[in-house]
Symmetry: C2
Subunit: 402 residues, 2 copies
């Protein structure tokens, strides 16, 4: 029996969007659903009780971070990610691919990516060739996997598709991802093609390894579609990955905002309709509407806590920055009518003061409000699909929000 079951409840007329029900070993997710990010096995600043209270259905941990700290041994001893962090609902982990590349290649912009086809130099050879200091953050890709340095202590690590899946088995989330190469959008087409071929080979290796283990009975594996900004490559990737026996699909890569709808629609039109689709790393309200309309069921993003910690909070009239002087004397909640703990108990003036005073509670309340806002925004989109008024809801919301 498959570890997850996905049922489509209703489709958007003439569009790819749909409302569904995703059953997992740790509970049911009503889709479309936002996925709250708990990078290191904690949603920053929130207790699991608060994670639940903001309407969270599913939490995603990052394999790269969890592998480096606290490490798989500790997570296994703790009984897996959910038990360790006391989150009883569904969980996901990404493959580690995004962080391996973004914290390696793109981090600080002063890093090299040494790709010379499938035959690679050794790491020390590459370093010498590039005149790199031993301390430089580097990542090197070969046919088999990726060598990278820890963002914590600089130690060297090597991820292969099998290693990524093995780590994700130890972490034990309900839904996990195949290991992929996440390219920079600035890479030229020939490189994107090369990277995509590698991602496809890694997808097969991830799947084969996963299926050979008992964990495949309780953990669902999602394959990742890549292809950068190139429509033909994305189509090719969707065809290729979509035919494989994954339990669901992730859509990766970064694209210009104006291209996103087309890019996502192209992919979702090809992917098998009956399996869930996760658009990786998307979370701004306008992007969520696009993603839902284009047929994505899940989306994760760190923005709600990352910006909430700085006092930047979502409202139906757009984002506002609480530390601004104009909120000093504003004794209304962040959003009138919002049912979150921050809005039902505190004023903007008080929360703004907490930020000025450097008090932790400011970060906590900002994060609570933002996670609640985004979770409920996606829940409302779902209800609007069920009620045949998605477009009206979208237009009404975005008119006020943007």
């Amino acid at each position: 029996m498959a570890p997850i079951k996905f049922t489509i409840e209703k489709k958007l007329k003439g569009k790819l969007g749909r409302a569904g029900i995703l059953e997992t070993p740790h509970g049911t997710i009503l889709t479309p659903s936002f996925v709250v990010v708990g990078t290191k096995g904690t949603v920053k600043g929130l207790t699991p009780q608060q994670i639940k209270d903001v309407g969270t259905q599913v939490v995603l941990g990052n394999t790269y971070h969890l592998y480096l700290q606290p490490g798989t041994e500790m997570i296994e001893k703790a009984g897996g990610l959910g038990k360790m962090m006391d989150w009883q609902g569904p969980t996901m982990t990404d493959s580690g691919g995004f962080q391996v590349f973004s914290l390696g290649v793109a981090y600080g912009k002063n890093i090299s990516k040494f790709v010379k086809g499938e035959k690679e130099l050794s790491l020390p050879e590459k370093r010498r060739e590039a005149g790199e200091e031993p301390s430089a953050k580097i990542v090197s890709i070969d046919a088999d996997g990726v060598m990278f340095r820890s963002s914590i202590d600089g130690s060297a690590h090597y991820f292969t598709p099998e290693k990524s899946i093995e780590i994700q088995h130890s972490i034990g989330a309900d839904m996990i991802f195949a290991f992929d190469e996440c390219t920079s959008p600035t890479e030229p087409e020939h490189y994107q093609k090369e990277a995509l071929d590698r991602t496809h080979r890694w997808a097969k290796r991830s799947l084969d390894f996963h299926k050979s283990k008992e964990n495949s009975k309780r953990q669902a594996l999602f394959g990742i579609v890549q292809g950068g900004r190139f429509e033909e490559l994305r189509k090719e990737s969707a065809e290729h990955i979509g035919k494989m026996d994954f339990d669901g699909f992730g859509i990766g890569g970064s694209f210009a905002k104006e291209d996103m709808t087309a890019a996502v629609e192209v992919v979702n039109a090809i992917l098998p309709e009956e399996k869930p689709r996760h658009l990786l790393g998307i979370g701004e309200p306008e992007d969520l509407f696009m993603a839902v309309e284009s047929g994505c069921d899940l989306f994760d993003c760190v923005a709600p806590t990352r910006i909430g910690r700085t006092g930047s909070v979502y409202t139906s009239s757009g984002k506002i920055n609480l530390p601004n002087a104009k909120y000093r004397d504003d004794f209304t909640p962040i959003e009138e009518g919002c049912g979150c703990y921050a809005c039902t108990n505190f004023t903007k003036a008080y929360i703004a003061y907490l930020f000025r005073a450097g008090e932790m509670l400011g970060c906590i309340l900002g994060s609570i409000h933002n996670e609640y806002f985004i979770n409920h925004l996606v829940m409302n989109m779902r209800q609007a699909i069920l009620d045949d008024r998605f477009e009206e809801y979208r237009d009404e919301f975005l008119k006020k929000y943007l």
Copy 2:
């Protein structure tokens, strides 16, 4: 009608200790009770819901901090301290005296205190005389009050007894304190005597000002007994302050740990039995037993959150430091049988990891556990008084704890 009502329920045989009931405009406090400190109008890292869940009966805000930020105008507009921070239970504020002196005189140890009898030089004169830079943190005392510089922006402020009470009226706590001079324990007797006379005159001025205002009907004023390490001065102070028409009393000053019992007993033997007594700034378990036994009803301390944020947590076997390597693989709670949110849901290994990873949730859980531990320790002392087994409870606890 007095704003508070104190009833003694049971006394410790042959001792000054007692269990009582303290009724305030915002609810009843069963005494002895720990008072949780919310310095700047927030208990660091805890939501008001969590403050309640750890068993808190009363929260104390610091007048000095609240006056400087967010300021009385904002607090008044918010409806007072309790409403501003969404704490519905009883509240207290200190007089600001302690911070004016400790953040002025003692801060960084490189500060002068310019006391030359009652006739004082102007602040600029003193500075010139002392060769101080304008930016130096200084405090100057005259017969009327204290000039000090803000710990936030260095701006000059002047507190008199009337000003302290006026600020505390604006903040609006149920129980407030008379303005006092908090001396350094290193001061010689002649200075302590001079400071004590000043504190006594300021007590009368605080009381007169308070009684002349409507707020005295809904806010109780506590007088503060001082006298440093000198028994005769403390007795004199207890006699003097004890005869005045305060609603309760605070016991201030710092003393060597070995002198504390004697110092507190001397004072409480003199203070009127029927009014509540607050021992200021005390919170370590061994000190709390001493204070309760010696007849104190209330005690406030920042330690539970201050040390909890660093991973230092109370257990019945003494304080432990969670970031220590030995807790990496310890999958038991901080304290077996503890009913707090941290202990009922998380292991030492996970919380220790959160501290290593620099995650906010570590600070939150450490603070929750510590406040719960101290609140319940004092509740247990109360029950032990009611059950005629205070000494057994104390001996049993301290034998294991120390």
